[in-house]
């Protein structure tokens, strides 16, 4: 595993966040994402597991975390990168990992992140959704439900307005 870490470090500017038994967490610049993922695939990280997006309104950033598994060396690579919150653009990895396309489509719908190069970013779960992307931290889903679906004056719906 040390070997894999140093291989990535020798080619790219990465910050090692932590290394565990069989996990590597790295932080990279979002410009390097495509190059690093191509290199990671070459050295055995073939199984794309998932893509998580975390929203940080106070820091005005969004964090993207790509989880990729290496079956040969039994190592999980977690690539972390940051993008600006008001301009959430990043390159798509769908050319490198085909299944990344659908993960990016989901992230686009729920967080509003735009992936340049992704062939299909159409709606996935939410039909005719006109509001802000619902998984952003400043979208309060409870307020949304109260506003749109419940009536404060109805006896059996009053309880939803308690907190």
């Amino acid at each position: 595993m040390q070997n894999l870490t140093s291989k990535i470090q020798s080619k790219f500017k990465v910050e090692i966040l932590k290394t565990d038994q069989n996990e590597i967490w790295i932080k990279i610049d979002n410009q390097d994402l495509l190059d690093i993922s191509i290199f990671a695939k070459e050295i055995g990280f073939e199984f794309f597991s998932s893509l998580a997006v975390i929203d940080f309104p106070e820091k005005n950033t969004m964090e993207l975390i790509y989880h990729i598994w290496n079956e040969e060396d039994k190592v999980l690579l977690n690539i972390k990168t940051e993008i600006k919150r008001e301009k959430p653009n990043i390159i798509s990895l769908s050319e490198v990992y085909a299944c990344c396309q659908i993960h990016e489509r989901e992230a686009h719908e729920l967080f509003g992140v735009k992936f340049s190069g992704n062939p299909d970013l159409s709606e996935l779960f939410l039909e005719d959704w006109q509001e802000r992307p619902p998984f952003l931290k400043d979208f309060n889903s409870r307020d949304y439900v109260r506003k749109n679906f419940y009536n404060k004056n109805k006896k059996n719906e009053k309880g939803y307005f308690n907190n």
């Binding site: 073939e46 199984f47 794309f48 998580a52 975390i54 079956e71 085909a98 299944c99 998984f135």
Partner: protein, 370 residues
């Protein structure tokens, strides 16, 4: 007339969400006669936004909520959430809890495979198979009822820190009785039915390189000849102490996915039999953990992966020093199986093969939509 012969008109075809073989899920296909030109998965009928719901709740509420991620195997998702919190906060759990968790996870896999075979039989026109599978599944549900208190949804029985309650006395005997019944149930599906074979053999072939690239996991990946099992490659709980195989088949068609399920079920029975009489004594729940006590999730993040019955289930949990998690990302195996891979396999297939290919992937719309 001359114009229309040049320009072919394709028919639109909807499979689901009201089709008995589809579940809460639909496929929009473009047809040229009987052949599918293009298929688009249309998920979202079960989207409940668990990831967002979990941000508003503490870990004990989330443990209960995590049942509902997948309807077919709630215990596996229960365990995944519990493991995430344990890894995040470095909570030790006893050997007893670990062993019971593995037994429950494997029982959960067995009943999930029974549902799968039942639905698969129904989708291919063998109604009897459906009834056999669901009848034998009920024996396992009785065990769940005795241990967790509920037949299907365990309401957070596998919780952060171990288990909510201890297992009842003498349950080992009951489980071994049920295993005999389960073996009998699976024996019906092991009969090589020529009609079923002719419907599934050579249908929906997924090559190994496509399987890896499109994010196949679990039996879909292993039926395509790629050996990859999280229980083997990154063992959790007590899997490293158990002797079992992770079967691999080479053909990658619907038939080998089905056969692989049967082989896996044998291994699950083998795992449970090994552990059953060796459940160590000890506490079932870590003393520091109690649902009555508020629990602060440390400012850290983890990614946990499990081999659930359908493939790789994973959770990314981020805490920020509060009772509620800051963000939970749930990755269900059906997400790539039922969208990327299903769309790929349905291309150039025939209408009658849609249910066969769909059910051979062992998908669950609930864990896809979340």
């Amino acid at each position: 007339m001359a114009d229309s012969s040049n320009k072919k008109e394709f028919q639109d075809f909807l499979f689901g969400p009201a089709h008995p073989g589809s579940g809460n899920f639909s496929v929009r296909a473009k047809l040229d006669g009987e052949r599918i030109i293009e298929a688009k998965s249309d998920p979202g009928y079960l989207h409940r936004g668990f990831e967002k719901l979990m941000e508003y709740r503490n870990i004990w509420q989330n443990a209960v909520l995590s049942d509902r991620i997948c309807v077919f195997e709630p215990l596996a998702w229960n365990m995944l959430f519990a493991q995430g919190i344990e890894k995040l906060a470095n909570i030790e759990i006893s050997e007893r809890a670990k062993t019971v968790r593995v037994i429950l996870a494997e029982l959960s896999r067995l009943q999930s495979h029974l549902i799968w075979f039942g639905a698969f039989s129904m989708a291919s026109g063998f109604d009897t198979g459906f009834k056999i599978a669901f009848a034998y599944r009920d024996y396992i549900l009785d065990i769940f009822s005795a241990i967790t208190g509920a037949r299907v949804y365990p309401t957070g029985y596998v919780c952060p820190g171990g288990l909510m309650r201890d297992i009842p006395n003498g349950i080992e005997k009951e489980i071994s009785k049920v295993l005999q019944k389960t073996k009998q149930g699976f024996s019906y599906f092991k009969k090589e039915d020529p009609l079923f074979k002719s419907r599934t053999k050579g249908i929906g072939i997924l090559k190994p390189e496509d399987a890896i690239n499109m994010g196949a996991t679990g039996q879909v990946l292993r039926a395509s000849g790629v050996s990859c099992d999280i229980r083997k490659s990154a063992p959790y709980e007590v899997y490293q102490k158990v002797d079992f195989d992770s079967p691999v088949l080479q053909d990658g068609d619907s038939y080998s996915r089905f056969r692989l399920g049967l082989l896996e079920a044998d291994q699950s029975i083998k795992i449970i039999e090994q552990l059953l009489n060796k459940i160590p004594s000890g506490e079932y729940l870590n003393k520091k953990m109690s649902p009555a006590m508020p629990f602060i999730i440390p400012n850290n993040e983890v990614y946990v992966r499990n081999e659930t019955a359908r493939g790789e289930g994973a959770m990314h949990i981020k805490g920020n020093g509060k009772e509620n998690p800051y963000r939970v990302k749930i990755k269900g195996p059906s997400f790539t199986h039922l969208i990327t891979i299903l769309e790929f396999l349905l291309k150039d297939a025939e209408i009658a093969d849609i249910p066969i290919i769909y059910w051979s992937l062992n998908g669950c719309p609930a864990d896809m939509d979340r």
